[in-house]
Subunit: 414 residues, 2 copies
């Protein structure tokens, strides 16, 4: 079965917000075997909504819409759906009670616009939105299911998880589309393609290979469509083990693994604690590490030492060494890492010092120059990196490189 | 003139990556008066690419595609375009030289797949990609312009900025679509709608109003289409000044302003310095502040004190007070803020301590409980917030609330 996702909202078409809802929905559908044929973004305009529904109904067995269900006048999805499915809006007292229960404890007065959110198309099934006032709606017409969800990401996600996915799983007994993704670091797209060319050539046509590059990381995704779960899994496992033998040195994770989760897992498994000292990455490394639930078991903390004074005062870096070597140098990176390890009483520490840009570069140390150091009780080492001229990308790349260096040292530790 | 954006790549349809390219392109086109009618995402499949081009050509004067131009076998956009525009691929030696110049200094060997990237459709204009090996391509057919760009965001952005936008500006002398966005904090969507109802009712039909909610922030966007720049601006300014008189207490910025930039600007203008102490936000605040170029002028640093020991050792928090009050309390937030201010020798400091979740909550202090404190030499104050049960949203909301508290104190300082 093919599905179409339609996201509704002028804010997407004028580039004010990035549509992240589609990726969540597409991923959730994929996992239960529903393939997304197309994603369409349109404005809050009656004619566009109707045209998009007409187009999708030509091929899709499932249409999931998001957006345009808010309490304000710019949102017209509900009215347009009532028209499209030949029905009228009627007040649903259960929904009104829910809206009251939700808003009153927050000290919000119930306005007419809130009450209007309890008026729903007569012929739809309501998909309860526990987290918000705009309910999900399900319509059926000529063998196609149409679902309308609010555009607020966590409300949409709640309804998808609680209602839409279980309902679709029950209604259609589908073979899931199976993907296996391997995360690598250290080879670019072309070099990787060359390294795995012979393997790629012998790949079964039932498997599709994709290269997914991002700063510092190259992911390879294998996909199998239209097989049962056992056959598909066996196929993926066979090919992955061949691939692994070719590029094992570069692989650091699989599927939804993230570098910060993997690093955390090694720390937890080995019973080691971590601290960080950041200059140019400005909190990015700490922020990545603390995005992982339960990180307080192994993460002690970080010093973001943006000024030279703070490098000395909070991390014990020597003023003299900064004067002699500059703050962006091997020695200072090493002193920062050592300082962070000792001050936080951690087993291992990682430190960054560099020039994120856009200004501050010199001929010798251009924007994008970053020193990264890792310190354990046995050894402190540092490495120099030269990234590009874009501040946010430099911060991102330096944080990823730092976590890689950390992981490399960690996996050798007892 | 209407444009369509087509993003090509299986990774979007299976939900593996979020399409952020479309928002960038839509915003850039809007600024020069080109309205995006639709955004379509399709897979790396010949038939889908051709069908999407056919559909778009029915109404669009401009079609911008991204993706599918990589050196590997899964990318088929270039071949499909050559077929669609009845042409063949020919080796472009200038492009080959560029690829060599780009890869050789990075120590990358030139592979066949790199050379194939210099083979381009004979009848297209090449849009030079300074940052990468996949060139942009421009085709013309029956009054529609078709542009194909690489999917790697910074490469796409470079070609858009250097070539596509200047070319479109020259080719079409269009009235820009004018938007004015105001950023507010402190009112939800319905409460805001009620507060500005009388103003909204009298709005000229030439102006479109949109409510754009996100965690902690509600943006209101006014848009004017199809007027010259002077009339449009006057209309927007008149309405904005009426709106401002209704909600001035809630407004903190306009258009592309971010809270971190605004906070930084106040600090710079007043010649004040800032430091931070973070527990539950784990580096998010520091990371937001250091995303702003030039922040080293006012940002001294941060201590991410995840463990109780580090709160005491690095920020001077009293062990006894933690034992008595718990780490998530008014007193500890205040001690952390005071500690951060003194240790970094800053004029003002902000601190967070809370339970980000998913675990660690109690009946008295459930997940989502956060204390935020601001400290100056004159006064240290703290406020308690209760957010939700989602870790990443709690971190996000706490960081935004902290920057708001900081801003509130800062604007009153000399």
């Amino acid at each position: 079965m093919l599905a179409e996702i339609i996201t509704i909202g002028d804010e997407i078409l004028i580039g004010q917000v990035v549509d992240s809802n589609s990726a969540f929905i597409a991923d959730a559908l994929n996992k239960i075997g529903i393939r997304v044929g197309k994603i369409t973004s349109i404005g809050d305009i009656r004619e566009q909504i109707i045209a998009a529904l007409d187009d999708a109904s030509k091929y899709a067995g499932l249409v999931i819409m998001t957006g345009g269900l808010g309490p304000t006048n710019d949102d017209i999805t509900k009215q347009t759906l009532a028209e499209y499915f030949n029905t009228r809006l009627v007040l649903n007292t259960d929904v009104l009670d829910h809206i009251r229960t939700l808003l009153i404890p927050r000290g919000i007065r119930i306005h007419d616009s809130n009450i209007r959110q309890a008026e729903l198309p007569e012929n739809c099934s309501i998909l309860h939105n526990a987290a918000g006032t705009a309910q999900g709606m399900l319509f059926k017409k000529s063998n196609t299911i149409y679902i309308s969800l609010p555009g607020v990401p966590f409300e949409m996600k709640g309804i998808m998880t609680d209602h839409v996915i279980p309902m679709l799983k029950d209604a259609f007994m589908l073979d899931p589309i199976q993907h296996l993704t391997v995360h690598t670091h250290g080879l670019g797209e072309s070099a990787m393609a060359l390294k795995i060319a012979s393997w790629e050539e012998q790949l079964s046509p039932a498997i599709k290979l994709a290269y997914l590059p991002s700063p510092g990381i190259l992911r390879l995704r294998l996909s199998v469509y239209n097989t049962d779960i056992v056959t598909g899994n066996a196929l993926l496992e066979t090919e992955m083990s061949k691939l692994r033998s070719l590029i094992s040195d570069y692989i650091f994770g699989y599927d939804s693994d993230t570098l910060e989760e993997i690093t955390g897992k090694i720390l937890r498994d080995k019973g080691l604690t971590l601290s960080v000292a950041e200059s140019c990455t400005g909190g990015k490394i700490a922020s990545m590490i603390t995005s992982v639930p339960g990180c307080s078991d192994y993460f002690m903390g970080s010093v973001i030492a943006y000024s030279n004074d703070s490098k000395c005062k909070l991390l014990g870096v020597s003023h003299e060494d900064i004067d002699k070597n500059g703050a962006v140098s091997r020695l200072i990176a090493e002193e920062m890492a050592r300082g962070a390890r000792c001050r936080f009483n951690a087993d291992i520490a990682v430190a960054t010092t560099g020039i994120a840009g856009p200004s501050g570069g010199t001929t010798e140390k251009p924007v994008g120059s970053v020193w990264i150091a890792v310190s354990t009780t046995d050894l402190t080492t540092a490495e120099r990196f030269t990234f590009g001229d874009n501040r946010s990308r430099n911060i991102q790349r330096a944080a990823i490189a730092a976590l890689f260096m950390l992981r490399k040292v960690l996996i050798k530790m007892d």
